[in-house]
Symmetry: D2
Subunit: 258 residues, 4 copies
């Protein structure tokens, strides 16, 4: 039978995860509760909910990123279809930006599978070396370390570490991610500090969630930030200027005087 456990509908009632949307959810729970209940089938604990809020805040916005630029350039051509602009802004959430939290969580989940929560540091370091070797063999990057702008350290990481500790989500995957940074420095002599992707990947694993949820939360959080960019784009547009700026880089493009 083709069906979902998520919900169903009759003329009188919309049911989501067994609850009456209009009478048991709407007005009773907030969005993060609702989303997590829809995903997992039950309401989150207070700690889970708080931690998820922090991840969504981390993802929401960082200025003129490629995702904001794609959204604005799409809106420039199709202002009547804002959903297309938001979608365009999300489509780059792959293995290099945003979506990379999932890739990171996947290697941490695999690399940490055999680790005891209280494993001594040598064991964690050995697991980090194994993780790095596995990535090398698959010709994959090592996710979660290094940043093109925050070269001396991603400012979000200390805050996320503190919050994860407070909420009980600082565990073996955080330790493994930190070991990757340490071992990379030791073995390669190169300081690539842990970044927000690494922190979110570690948190998702230490919460016991599927790595796919990491990417999913980035998409939800970023959707919020993209609404902000499109709202600004409508009132104070820069899409055309973005285009003009790029064209002006190649002197063969000649624009008429305006």
């Amino acid at each position: 039978m083709v069906k979902t456990e998520i919900g169903y509908t009759t003329p009188e009632r919309i049911t989501v995860r067994g609850k009456d949307l209009a009478n048991e959810l709407l007005g009773q729970v907030d969005f993060v509760d609702m989303m997590l209940m829809t995903i997992f089938g039950h309401l989150p604990s207070a700690a889970e909910k708080t931690m998820v809020n922090h991840i969504l805040v981390t993802a929401c916005d960082h200025g003129l990123t490629p995702s904001a630029m794609s959204a604005r350039l799409t809106y420039l051509g199709a202002p009547e279809a804002m959903q297309a602009a938001v979608a365009a802004g999300l489509l780059g959430a792959g293995s290099v930006f945003l979506g990379t939290t999932q890739n990171c969580a996947e290697i941490l989940a695999a690399g940490g599978a055999g680790l005891a929560p209280e494993a001594p540091q040598e064991e964690v370091d050995a697991a980090a070396r194994a993780l790095m070797a596995a990535s090398r063999e698959k010709k994959q990057p090592i996710y979660g370390i290094g940043h093109p702008i925050h070269i001396d350290g991603d400012p979000r990481v200390p805050t996320l570490r503190r919050l994860a500790r407070e909420l009980g989500y600082y565990g073996k995957h955080w330790r493994l991610m930190e070991a990757v940074q340490r071992v990379f420095l030791q073995d390669k002599g190169k300081n690539l500090p842990m970044n927000a992707v690494g922190a979110v990947g570690a948190i998702i694993c230490d919460m016991g969630l599927d790595p796919m949820i990491a990417r999913g939360l980035m998409l939800v959080g970023r959707a919020g930030g993209l609404v902000a960019h499109l709202y600004e784009e409508r009132q104070d547009p820069i899409g055309q200027q973005l285009w003009d700026l790029v064209l002006a880089q190649d002197p063969r493009n000649v624009a008429p005087a305006r």
Copy 2:
């Protein structure tokens, strides 16, 4: 100068709306605060935040909608790119589903522009008739009334009305939307009860927000529901069955025995 007021970045600091993301936002505010601050440049009032949460809850999920189906069918072909599946699920948020909250808010904002908050009912009814005439002239549907399944009334509307009243967002646009339903029955003899789209459109207008925010919030809320569908699709897939089911409708398609 090509720039955004939303934020900027230095190696040491990410600034969103003038605040230090890592130290002044992360851990201090939750996602809905963060999103609204990113959009509007300031934190929401308690009432605004609560009302926005209710809208996001309304949008999150209603089972196997076309948006959930598109997302699952996309995931079936590209499970390595979950962002593409979420985007596919959002792309139908146009003038018929989900995005229609924006269209509805637009006609309510235009139709209610001249109404005083306490206008007597005859004036509101006259504005409703003018709104309907304007839609007819532009060959646009009248948004916000009628529902293919909830034919005797959308169960979300009474709850959203009560919540809007409690929070101070039951104003002239709600009254106008209700007048559209009433006048439609009087003039056409047809009972098309107000639906959730009409309620959200009215709320956005009575909150004083731009109609575009209506569609934006539906996209953010629904992104959360789509993550739920894709999480279920990964663990308990129905995408292939959806396809088989559709193919089996045309007897000319012959599938091999499995």
Copy 3:
């Protein structure tokens, strides 16, 4: 019954528009034949096929457009999902760029409905004035005239006119579009030469095709150009430079020395 007239499949045979794909189409017809047969149910005439090729060539590529930029910025984040980058590049084909051929064809089809093919010029001019008045009333732009770069005339228009004439697709909709330009100059004193959107809109109408096909062909043609951009992006990437360039516009963004 849920079915399509386009095609169906058995274990031995794929049927498209009543023909055996493997034995009657593949190797017998080229892509444009195949596409038009799939859309319309029959093979095109030689003139139709040639004209459609010209439209696809017109759409294919024009350097670093917003659509190419969105595609490249999406590829930067998700190189493993090229389909997402192509999709992002198409999503802006709305009422301002590319998709506008459909909007233009719609106003020409409506505005030319009552015109005889050989109507005298005064009648065509009157129809142009009526078209412009209708657009003004709906607060829509007048599609098909003016261009931000080709201010003295879009170089594609004379060629498309000549080709349309040669193939028998220069009819009343071309005349109407040209009248819009002429009347605009007469009545407003402003020279906004007809652009490629106007030419494609007129051709689609003079071919007797649905306006929606205009947008459809732009999407197919542009998909080809986007493949070119992504192929170049992979070998000689500029996505990161596009981002750096934009960030550097706002002096508050400080990038580390590289």
Copy 4:
């Protein structure tokens, strides 16, 4: 300098790959020429062009596939944004459907790198075994063999093989792909005939093209088929029926009598 070799624009002239679009391309070349010139910087040979046409014909359409369903379900919600529906239909072109031609070409290119064109069959079989072992190790599927519907053989493969032979594109990658099928049967006792994905993957490699072009051509060809589905959807819609059909599978969904 941020620029593309693909093209640039002045008020008088649009240049693509060094040629004047309006005077040297439009009216002189057809779409496939134009696309290949835009991608590769030069016009294709007659054989290349013919082979690419065959690949585009192969990709164009096969009835109600997941991609056609996503496109129609998206159109149902946003008929004003056809580009969003086409994009939704392309977004599933990943590692399972359509896009898989790229994955297949990648493993064939890697697996065939050391093979001489006239290598004896034992060497080709050994390369096939190595390819299969490499896929197993990376936990990737073996692309290009087996089909859920065409269980006794994909009807497109014999035609594509004949066409490839005629055009001089039957080389070591075709032989390797065929060897995979043969070795799979020998070693596993399971007959999984080569499918169209395998044929297209082999052709792309034997043409000496980058594997990414395989996915690119599928996207262009399928865009054409999606236009056909949306054109039919507008005239004879089934989107709502698709939804109703799916909802009716779960008896908990109760739809009102219509």
